[in-house]
Amino acid sequence: MVKFQSLKDAVAENLFDGDTVAFEGFTHLIPHAAAHEAIRQGRQDLTVIRMTPDLVYDQMIGMGMVKKLIFSYAGNPGVGLLRRMRDAVENQWPKKIELEEHSHAAMANAYEAGAAGLPCAIFRGYKGAGLKDVNANIREVTCPFTGEVLAAVPAVKPDVTFIHAQKANKRGDVLIEGIIGVQKEAVLAAKRAVVTVEEIVDNFDDVHHNACVLPRWTVTSICEVPGGAHPSYAHGYYTRDNAAYLDWDKIASDRDVFAAWMQKNVIDANPEVFADRIATLREAK
């Protein structure tokens, strides 16, 4: 049954060296606080999965925690490239990483297959695309009814998924609103799921019948971490810190500047600092 606990304990109990882990969030509700806790606890040899690895995976790759990255778009949204990831791919710094690269359609289908308990996802895609030649996990199946050749990729099944959401209620149900991305599928595809939330409320009596709610028995652990998505945003709570994304491009472009920034803002910090980081970004209620 779901546990309410500190982020420190949730990471310690659910993320282990060598795990396959997804820190999901599609440009919204990105679980920065959880990723920073994983960095502080120094997990190693991780296979990290995400459709849009951005700053958090750039940070984890730069800290040498990542063995393999499974992804479909590795950019700093609206800004440019991921400098630490580039350094790892182009110069093997701080270490070599393995890439398994897909398209968004493939990743979204693979998460859905994971949630549906299927071994693989089937979809119409990758026609003429070069990724087929560099990724052995992109294969083809023939429809037994029509003969159409379709793309197939393995289901995504993380050992643990971390997401950030707006609310949990006291029972432990979780509400995700706005751009919901692939978080529901990422939780249901995983063996364990840790959810950081902006706040814990008494009940969901005022929530719409068709809202995106994860029942409490699908979640392993809930941690209240206000601001836990910063510099991403939490719809209805605070806006995206665009300046931080622009700054990251400069920080990540130099190994020493990166190391100093990580020491000060991650290693020597704690989950409570996130509430301060969004103080000026809060939406008027």
């Binding site: 599609f26 440009t27 919204h28 459709m51 849009t52 992804f71 479909s72 778009y73 590795a74 950019g75 949204p77 609206g78 490239l81 991921l82 990831m85 580039r86 791919v89 182009e90 690269e101 398209s103 968004h104 359609a105 979204a108 289908n109 998460y111 859905e112 979809f123 119409r124 895609g125 990758y126 026609k127 003429g128 695309a129 070069g130 990724l131 560099v134 159409e148 050749v149 706005g178 751009i179 919901i180 991305g181 692939v182 529901k184 599928e185 995106c212 945003y233 719809h235 806006t239 995206r240 810190d241 665009n242 300046a243 994304y245 622009l246 970004l281």
Partner: protein, 259 residues
Amino acid sequence: MDLDFTPNEMMTIAAARALSNDDICFVGIGAPSAACNVARLTHAPDITLIYESGTIGTAPDILPLSIGDGELCDTAVTTVSVPEMFRYWLQGGRVTVGFLGAAQLDKFGNINTTVIGDYDNPSIRLPGGGGAPEIASSCGEIFITMKQTKRGMVEAIDFFTSFGHGAGGNAREKLGITTKGPSLLITDLAVWKPDLETREFTVTSLHPGVTLDRVQETCGWMVKCSADVETTVRPTELELTTLRDLQARTDAAHSGAAA
């Protein structure tokens, strides 16, 4: 007002004109996003704009910095999950136009946003394809917009992120792709359309004041030009005002967030 305009403004406005009120358009970030919203704010108020973050029928007041800004969700008809976006809406064949940018483009509309150099040993690791591989094959047709440079418009791309017309001719058909593929390229200098036979992009219209020599100087392949090449109609006052106001609102909002 001053009706002088920059090549970038001409590019965005020419791209906007290509969209119609009835289009269901899958919008790439950057230049395509500006063009699609100028279309919506001028001649195509009922156009449906879709961003891959799941926002359908969005009408942002400012241009988003990322494809998942809250503004897109706030103004959308509905916001769906990303798997639903790619399965029901894109793969389901509901989208008439996909609007893409490119890091590298060849004359057949094949796009590379994955790597410069060898895949396993790249000189530059780019972000990758994101939604583009399936946008390129599932949308009814594809419009591409980019600034002309010799580095960007090349004879041979380093990686086939998304398939245009392959090596030309009926390459799409041979792969079992039933959609039209790239049917329009709008640069800062010209409008290009694929030759009906070879599918090679051919200049059909030069922007005001632009010579064919200038187009060739900033393009890595031998430029072909249609027999009856036209001059692109200059931006109207409404088009320019709409674009500049949109940019000004966008700049103000984003620098406000940075302060």
